[in-house]
């Protein structure tokens, strides 16, 4: 479970102070698929970065399966990120000189696994996301939708409990976006992951099971879709 309490994030200080998040509290159950929705500048990406330990909150608490992120040191946070969280980005963030298998295997190798073993696991996940015939392709030999599939396989390969997705279809055409939406529903429904997805797109958010609307750094409403 993710439990967020009175989360605040202020950038800068004095005259140039910007409040990105102004007291957000939210609970997310394991296995949920939650969309965080709002216009640009509403604080939704900041929220995701704080959840993933990529940034530190100015104030407030983030509880991940009962542990408070603010009580962990940097090394411990890195460990949580490497073991329990998978990230999916708008621009895929694949390494251009590595092929699909090598990109997916990377988190495992960084975690100390032998390359051979990591490659086997990477191939398993590429099969699961429908890219069984694209093992040796470099990112620039793949379509946008396929690159995002590679990125999703990479986010899942170390078997994390939580998937954090930042505008995962923001750079894709409608058809590819729909396929990625379907895949994300599998990530949650079939493979049991908890997904927190940030988007400004009503269509994309409708694939989630709950929508949290953010405006000016605060939650203004919530919709349960099932």
């Amino acid at each position: 479970m993710i439990k967020v309490k009175d989360l605040k994030k202020i950038y800068g200080s004095g005259e140039s102070k910007v409040t990105a998040l102004n007291g957000v509290s939210l609970s997310i159950e394991e296995g949920e698929f939650v969309a965080i929705m709002g216009p640009s500048g509403c604080g939704k990406s900041t929220f995701l970065h704080l959840l993933g330990g990529l940034q530190k909150p100015t104030r407030g608490e983030i509880g991940l399966r009962g542990r408070s992120l603010s009580k962990l040191n940097d090394d411990e946070i890195t460990l949580v990120r490497r073991k329990e969280i998978g990230f999916i980005f708008q621009f895929f963030n694949l390494i251009p000189i590595l092929n699909a298998v090598e990109n997916v295997a990377m988190p495992l190798i960084l975690d100390g696994m032998k390359t051979k073993e990591a490659n086997i696991k990477a191939k398993e996940w590429l099969e699961k996301v429908g890219l069984g015939n694209r093992f040796k392709h470099l990112p620039n030999q793949l379509s946008g939708g396929q690159q995002q599939r590679v990125a999703i396989a990479r986010a899942l390969v170390h078997n994390p409990a939580f998937i954090l997705a930042d505008e995962p279809t923001g750079n894709l055409d409608t058809r590819s976006a729909e396929e990625i939406a379907g895949l994300l529903r599998d990530v949650c429904g079939k493979w049991g992951k908890t997904i927190v997805m940030v988007t400004h797109d009503p269509r994309m958010s409708s694939y989630a099971n709950r929508i949290v609307h953010l405006k000016d750094g605060a939650i203004i409403s919530e919709n349960r879709l099932i």
């Binding site: 729909e178 009503p202 694939y207 919709n223 879709l225």
Partner: protein, 200 residues
């Protein structure tokens, strides 16, 4: 109107009985949840088509079963069908029940208009969820027609959601303006206000 003509079209494709027509219509629109038509309504419509000479009926004996009534299109039925198919279809976008609800809400004080907007948005997101998740289960190589129908529904809901955002942003302005009213018409003898003549 359109159900009647769609039934006529289905009969024109091949003569069939009432129950078959009901099932075919429901299949065409992608399920009862999209277009709720009751079986009795189908039979009432068939009777009307018969009375107007647009279809004819005949009894066919089924092997070992009871007789069944089969409907067949007539030439005047075909003419009406062709006329319908050759004409454009009016949009009904300004017949909006939610708009009426919102205006009456603003004119009375039974419910909070922001609450009404919230409920409507929740409902639309739920519908969008249902349609989009259902779409994932359809096969684009076999069910493209239904997929396109669902796509239309989902695009319309997205437009409605955008419209709700717009209404919400301007709700205070709307409520400060008078409700659209009929134009005042003079009844009886014309009223001439003192001084009006000279001004003209």
């Amino acid at each position: 109107m359109s159900v009647r003509l769609a039934l006529l079209g289905l009969i024109s494709k091949k003569p069939r009985h009432g129950y078959d027509l009901y099932n075919s219509f429901i299949a065409l629109v992608g399920g009862e949840e999209n277009w709720a038509v009751k079986k009795p309504q189908i039979y009432t419509t068939l009777n009307r088509l018969l009375k107007n000479g647009l279809i004819s009926e005949e009894s066919v004996e089924k092997e070992g079963g009871p007789e069944k009534t089969i409907y067949r299109i007539t030439s005047s039925g075909e003419k009406l069908l062709k006329d319908w198919l050759s004409s454009a279809t009016p949009s009904e976008h300004q017949k909006d029940e939610f708009y009426l609800k919102l205006m009456i809400t603003l004119a009375t004080s039974y419910v909070d208009p922001y609450d009404l907007l919230y409920k409507q948005r929740s409902r639309l997101f739920k519908e969008l969820h249902r349609i989009n998740v259902d779409k994932l289960k359809k096969d684009k190589n076999k069910e493209l027609a239904l997929l396109l129908l669902m796509e239309q529904a989902s695009m319309r809901i997205e437009a409605d959601l955008r419209w709700l955002d717009m209404v919400e942003a301007r709700l205070d302005d709307i409520s400060s303006q008078p409700m659209p009213m009929p134009e005042a018409k003079h009844r009886g003898r014309p009223i001439i206000l003192v001084g009006e003549e000279e001004e003209k």
